[in-house]
């Protein structure tokens, strides 16, 4: 074999029995190969996980306007926003507040029973007063209230990203109800 036909010593795959793979060159290629493989695999899983987080949601917004305060009559429960926004709008003698429709027992959706003047959960029978306070069944605590306030145009604005728990004394917070 002439000198100029000899393959480069570090090259893999061009070796002949007369030209064994050099140990150092082999490890260099092996490391490069594994690094490339690791990078490709890492990129692959990054892409897949990113793909699972949509850019656009087809859900009702977390913050929404429900109308002007005088549209809500005293001592009544407004169920118009239950299906779309999962919130009841309740007006008592002095305030308007937004109650979460999620039962505090296991997360079902109770119904407002007008004749019995209470929220009643069909799953396990939890009952709540018009204020949201639990009084029967397995529910361990009252319904939660959402942040409520007035927007610039005078309409009531409900913000579901912030909720207030009675048992933590948060119903005293002035964002948890709207004085009327």
């Amino acid at each position: 074999m002439s000198e100029e036909k000899q393959a480069p010593r570090a090259a893999v795959g061009t070796t002949t029995p007369q030209d064994p793979i050099q140990r150092r060159g082999f490890f260099r290629w092996l490391a490069l190969g594994w690094l490339t493989f690791a990078a490709a695999t890492g990129g692959f899983f990054t892409v897949i996980i990113r793909f699972l987080y949509p850019n656009v949601l087809f859900e009702p917004p977390q913050t929404f306007k429900i109308g002007f305060p005088d549209e809500f009559s005293p001592n009544s429960v407004d169920t118009r926003f239950k299906k779309k926004f999962n919130a009841w709008v309740v007006r008592d003698d002095e305030s308007i507040f937004a109650l979460s429709t999620t039962c505090t027992h296991l997360g079902c959706t109770p119904n407002w029973l007008l004749t019995e003047n209470k929220f009643k959960c069909p799953c396990h029978g939890s009952g709540f007063r018009i204020t949201g306070i639990n009084f029967e069944g397995p529910a361990p605590r009252p319904l939660e209230r959402f942040k409520i306030g007035l927007s610039d145009d005078g309409q009531i604005l409900v913000d579901k990203t912030k909720s207030y728990k009675w048992e933590k004394g948060e119903w005293e917070n002035k964002d948890s109800f709207l004085k009327v």
Binding site: V47, I48, R50, F51, Y53, P54, N55, V56
Partner: protein
């Protein structure tokens, strides 16, 4: 001579651990026989030959077309599953979901990857067939595997055809309308095919536009909502399932029939 436990290297201890043995089914392979057993004992590795002849890795001979076909199939499976998270096969949503896949779903290239991989797979499966033909690899004892290969190619074309409808645009609907019209001419089973008129009881035709093989394919008399759902199920589950069974046989027979490429 046996060494005491504390002299053993980490690799040796790992090879003798229960976790390793339960997964690999043998200890650290040291002899050629043990190495072969390590390959044969793994469901994934055993699909591949335990030893390769040197000529098998010559790209100039095989063009690597079979491997590339399988690579594209795996690619299409992964991108296809991801697309299924966002695509709904209904008349109301199908077209707009395809638009959304390009415009607002993260990495809008995912559908393009699927589309181009599909085109490439059809091309490469054909080239694979050309290579096998040109090298005479269809000859006995490989003639059975050639037959399996022809079925796999047909399944590739059917996957391409069923996927064609899913964007639910004008091109898709009319292409599938035209394509499925061929089924009208199926002998005996298509209502315009030869012999269909023979299948009658008295004056009553058994094979008509509402009862022939095209009707079964479309789930109706024309390409509609039922067709979209039917092609979606065939595209995502039905045909890939059958193709995977035939691929397992195909790969296994390559080895049993004397290995990849080269004379026998």
């Amino acid at each position: 001579m046996e060494r005491s436990d504390n002299k053993k290297s980490l690799l040796e201890r790992m090879g003798e651990s229960q976790v390793w043995k339960s997964i690999i089914r043998s200890g650290v392979p040291r002899t050629r026989r043990q190495r072969m057993h390590a390959i044969l004992g793994s469901v994934f590795l055993h699909l591949h030959p335990a030893r390769l002849p040197k000529h098998a890795v010559k790209v100039g001979y095989t063009w690597c077309m079979g491997g590339l076909s399988f690579f594209l199939f795996v690619n299409l499976t992964i991108t296809g599953i991801l697309l299924m998270f966002y695509y709904r096969p209904t008349v109301e949503y199908a077209f707009t979901d395809i638009i959304d896949l390009a415009e607002q779903v993260p990495l809008g290239i995912m559908r393009e990857l699927h589309r181009w991989a599909a085109h490439a797979m059809v091309l490469i499966v054909w080239l694979h067939m050309v290579r096998v033909f040109m090298t005479g690899s269809y000859k006995p004892p490989r003639e059975f595997n050639w037959g399996v290969g022809v079925l796999l190619m047909t399944l590739t074309l059917l996957l391409s055809f069923t996927g064609y409808l899913l964007p639910w645009d004008q091109l898709a609907i009319w292409a599938v309308t035209v394509g499925s019209n061929m089924a009208r001419a199926t002998p005996f089973l298509g209502h315009e095919g030869p012999g269909a008129a023979l299948l009658a009881i008295g004056d009553i035709n058994l094979i008509h536009v509402g009862s022939d093989v095209r009707f079964a394919l479309l789930g109706g008399r024309f390409v509609g909502e039922a067709t979209l759902l039917r092609f979606y199920v065939l595209h995502c589950i039905g045909i890939p399932f059958i193709a995977m069974i035939f691929m397992a046989v195909h790969f296994w027979r390559i080895r049993k029939d004397g290995g990849i490429s080269g004379p026998l």
